[in-house]
């Protein structure tokens, strides 16, 4: 078990940086997910922790010990790659036993440990098989078994489910999380898939262009995104973002959406807090609203603005309805079958308590919640 600390870690390739001033603490027994689009520096960070990549400045500490001078092999860390990298000529049993054999462990101990881990991973029936006879999911289980068998201080995983199909990923997600709960190895997991991150992480660290954007538990990252990038990277369908000009209304604060496409009423408090934040500049804001916070009525109602239903995605348990509001398009999540067909006239409102307010020029959240 181990804690991992990254202090001012930087990595350059020539002139351009891959990781910039990264400060991050991964707690003992934590499942931390590094999330971001390709090229954001997440894999480089993971490889730096493993000792597979040298850093240009800063330090990496494992259990308080600086790691720079240590080889990958001396860091007591296990690595699982996207491609299973099993020995094709060895059985599943021998693949899992391999790291222990290398340490001259006693035969009986090896056997017990291999069988223990295989049972936890539910591959105890497959131990006699070669990788070529295994499915993708089982191969990845063997690879994870091989990583866990020597009880490393930390487990690092680089998109371990990237090569599996959607259904299998869904199953493996729950399994992997459960294995973590049982093994308690500090885990750093890299992915570009926000669903995986949300579903498995104790905390998520989101990176973009080499810079750490936000660290938090999944519900924080989802409900209180620090900036527009995080807001739109986490969550599906993507958060709606629209320009909003704030002005005093009649016993309320009016926000003019888009190019005068609609006016939404907010409590007076919003106007006061925006003025406070902007020190009277009154710049337009970027409003962020997730599809579930766009409320759709079939009849005119107080506080609702008119909209036209466009494409309706009927996903099963719910629908995603594209609403045309003047020049704007809002995606709303509604009960299945709520809006009958494309072209229907409907009415919409943004749920004020689930509306996010961002500075339009910097993208930073104004941290105003109603």
């Amino acid at each position: 078990m181990a804690s991992i600390v990254l202090r001012d870690v930087e990595k350059y390739f020539g002139e351009s940086y891959v990781v910039r001033r990264l400060n991050l603490e991964i707690r003992d027994r934590e499942f931390l997910v590094l999330l971001g689009p390709s090229g954001c520096g997440k894999t480089t960070t993971l490889r730096a922790i493993a000792g597979l990549e040298e850093i240009d400045s800063g330090e990496i500490l494992i259990d308080g010990q600086p790691m720079q001078s240590r080889q990958a092999a001396d860091r007591d860390i296990a690595f699982v790659f996207q491609l299973f990298a099993l020995y094709p000529h060895l059985t599943a049993y021998e693949n899992i036993a391999f790291p222990l054999r290398a340490t001259n462990e006693r035969k009986a101990v090896v056997d017990r440990r291999v069988r223990e881990i295989a049972r936890a991973l539910r591959i105890d029936g497959l131990l006699g098989k070669r990788p070529s006879a295994l499915s993708g999911g089982d191969m990845q289980r063997v690879a994870i078994g091989r990583a866990l068998v020597r009880r490393p201080k930390a487990l690092l995983m680089d998109e371990p489910m990237g090569a599996l199909d959607a259904k299998l990923r869904e199953e493996m997600r729950a399994e992997l999380k459960h294995i973590h709960l049982e093994n308690e190895a500090t885990t750093v997991y890299v992915t570009h898939d926000q669903i995986e991150a949300m579903a498995m992480a104790d905390r998520i660290a989101i990176m973009h262009d080499g810079v750490l954007q936000q660290v938090g538990v999944p519900s924080e990252v989802y409900q209180y995104p620090a900036n527009l990038f995080v807001a739109q990277f986490v969550g599906s369908p993507i958060m709606n973002v629209v320009t909003g000009a704030v002005r005093p209304g009649d016993g309320c604060t009016d926000v003019v959406l888009g190019e005068h496409d609609a006016v939404q009423r907010f409590p007076v408090e919003l106007g006061r807090r925006v003025t406070e934040q902007q020190q009277g500049r009154n710049d337009p804001l970027a409003l962020g609203v997730r599809p579930e916070a766009v409320l759709v009525a079939l009849r005119p109602a107080d506080g609702y603005f008119p909209a036209e239903a466009h494409i309706i995605e009927r996903l099963g348990p719910y629908d995603i309805v594209d609403l045309k509001v003047g020049t704007q398009l809002f995606r709303a999540r509604t009960a299945s079958g709520h809006v009958k067909k494309a072209g229907d006239a409907v009415w919409a409102r943004l749920d004020e308590r689930q509306t996010h307010f961002f500075d339009q020029s910097t993208g930073e959240s104004l941290r105003i919640r109603l």
């Binding site: 926000q194 949300m198 989802y222 739109q232 993507i238 995605e313």
Partner: protein
């Protein structure tokens, strides 16, 4: 635009049948999605319609005409692939003009220019027209590929997993754009994918394929709510429908005696054969409700946060069951919880054959 009919199509590669007795109709102006896992025969079907391969038996009709003897060019269908096959050293404009320069078309220069301009405007790639295609992002390249299909004004669009190589966010955007395009042109689309979300979100109708056979054809709503067998039930929907093996006795499905017994509505029970024993209960995660007074009890095995909601895996003895709950509901792993299953939303399958018994 055109109708497509496939009648009793079989396609064999040596002795392996990639398609067996496949029949389906795609209506004029319809967005039809062929959905299935790898190896189901989806791409083979597209290639047969495009005229790139010939069926071993059966016939293909476009607008009522048997096109069996027609060349690919004569069929006038446009194919868009997963891998954008653009000419790398040419500009976007040249790539778009290319299919129109064929001598058979005899299009005037003005017509070519105006078609390219319209396609570029529709796909919002006007600003890229003079750029070489090797300097485009994945999403831009796929837009150009689609543009190359559009300028031809084909009778039918055939699309083979066109969004598979794009990242999740871009897929979401292009999904909506493709659907918009199809509605605008009232075009006939036959779209192949293994991604059930793509199928559910874009299709007017879905044809589910497995092992070279059509398993079910229906609207997304029908496929989701009345799957014809356990394959469709678990392939469509995320998380996959919960399937619980049990026995049918005295109007109840018994999964775990005393712990998980689900009464079956009388009108459903009456339709079941009395000597039927082994059944599989199917219930979607959103139809499993957690909370006191549910009447059933399970243990929380895992919790996944999905932002707007959580997906909870429950265990009742060795059986697992997923439930969708609101994001704000507090759930502790390893705690006991009461739950209920909406009896009106139950599906029952014959365990032996997998066939839906209540559809």
């Amino acid at each position: 635009m055109a109708r497509i009919e496939l009648r009793n199509i079989t396609k064999k590669f040596k002795r392996h049948a990639a398609l067996s007795d496949l029949s389906l109709d795609v209506g004029d102006g319809e967005f039809f999605v062929l959905l299935g896992p790898t190896g189901a025969g989806k791409t083979t079907s597209l290639r047969l319609i495009a005229g790139l391969d010939a069926p071993s038996s059966g016939s293909i009709l476009i607008d009522g005409q048997d096109v069996g003897q027609w060349s690919a060019a004569e069929r006038d269908v446009a194919l868009v692939f997963q891998y954008y096959s653009l000419y790398p050293h040419y500009t976007v404009r040249e790539n778009l003009e290319f299919p129109l320069k064929s001598r058979r078309r005899r299009l005037g220069v003005e017509e070519v220019t105006s078609r390219v301009a319209r396609a570029a405007q529709t796909l919002r790639i006007e600003h890229l027209l003079e750029r070489k295609t090797d300097r485009l992002s994945g999403g831009e390249m796929q837009r150009v590929s689609i543009g190359r299909a559009i300028v031809r004004q084909p009778r039918v669009f055939l699309m083979d997993e066109p969004l598979s190589n794009l990242d999740a966010k871009l897929r979401e955007v292009l999904r909506a754009e493709l659907k918009d395009l199809q509605m605008k042109f009232r075009a006939t689309f036959l779209y192949v994918t293994h991604d059930q979300v793509e199928a559910m979100s874009m299709a007017d109708r879905i044809g589910v394929l497995n092992h070279g056979r059509v398993v079910q054809i229906g609207t997304p709503h029908e496929i989701y709510n009345r799957p014809c067998d356990t394959f469709v039930a678990t392939f469509v929907g995320s998380p996959a429908m919960n399937l619980l093996p049990g026995v049918f006795r005295n109007g109840k499905v018994i999964v775990a005696p005393g712990k998980l017994e689900i009464p079956v509505a009388a009108e459903v029970a009456n339709r079941l054969s009395p000597d039927l024993e082994q059944v599989t209960l199917g219930v979607r995660s959103e139809d499993v409700a957690l909370g006191p007074g549910g009447g059933l009890e399970g243990r929380v095995y895992g919790v996944e946060n999905h932002g707007v909601e959580k997906i909870v895996t429950l265990k009742v003895d060795e059986h697992s069951l997923k439930a969708t709950v609101p994001a704000h509901m507090p759930i502790e792993v390893d705690s006991a919880t009461a739950f209920a299953i909406d009896p009106g939303k139950l599906q029952l399958f014959a365990t032996q054959t997998g066939t839906n018994l209540v559809r």
